[in-house]
Symmetry: C2
Amino acid sequence: MKFNLESLKFDENGLIPVIIQDEKNLEVLMMAYMNLDSLRETLKDGKTSFWSRSRKKYWLKGETSGHFQHVKSVFYDCDKDTLLIKVEQIGGACHDGYRSCFYTELKGDETRVLGEKVFDPEKKYK
Amino acid sequence: MKFNLESLKFDENGLIPVIIQDEKNLEVLMMAYMNLDSLRETLKDGKTSFWSRSRKKYWLKGETSGHFQHVKSVFYDCDKDTLLIKVEQIGGACHDGYRSCFYTELKGDETRVLGEKVFDPEKKYK
């Protein structure tokens, strides 16, 4: 069935949330937002591009850090308002130096950091 | 470190997106939204509760279908604006009858349905 990207449900700001998952170990790496243009660019380029809500600009993941995400497969959900993209993650997805942005577990009212840093964010982004 | 749930970043509607992942096979099952009250209820009850944006009400996942999600672990991301909850999913997460809401793959401009239905939604919700 031919699929029209415009049939996806972008929110009132023209954005759709995108869950990024490691295609190999299935770890959820991050969530970010795309607009129609960054989704088209992602599908064309084979690397993820997002719309930064805080900086209000396009953002090719890995442009500064070299930590690109190579797209392996793309899924949308039953409501057509969320995407799931499985990627090959170079380095780490998280700007704090971890492989996944979800490196903090909430247990009761305590938290604990899980996982090791895979790079030094101060060196990477200075 | 003691953690205050109110330090999470809820959006302008008081909501935070929550990725639900199968704790065993690590399949991403769905994404939905919680407000502070439904998050507190989820942590207290051990089963996921969400805020339905379309129906504007609380929603104990599985209340109608019996397809509860038993919480196994809870993570928040580096920006504190997204949650990841690993669950034991009873039945299927998707109201269309699939285990995961992300049952449609987008490949080029074609789509294909992956996965088998685990229940008949017409029987379950009639």
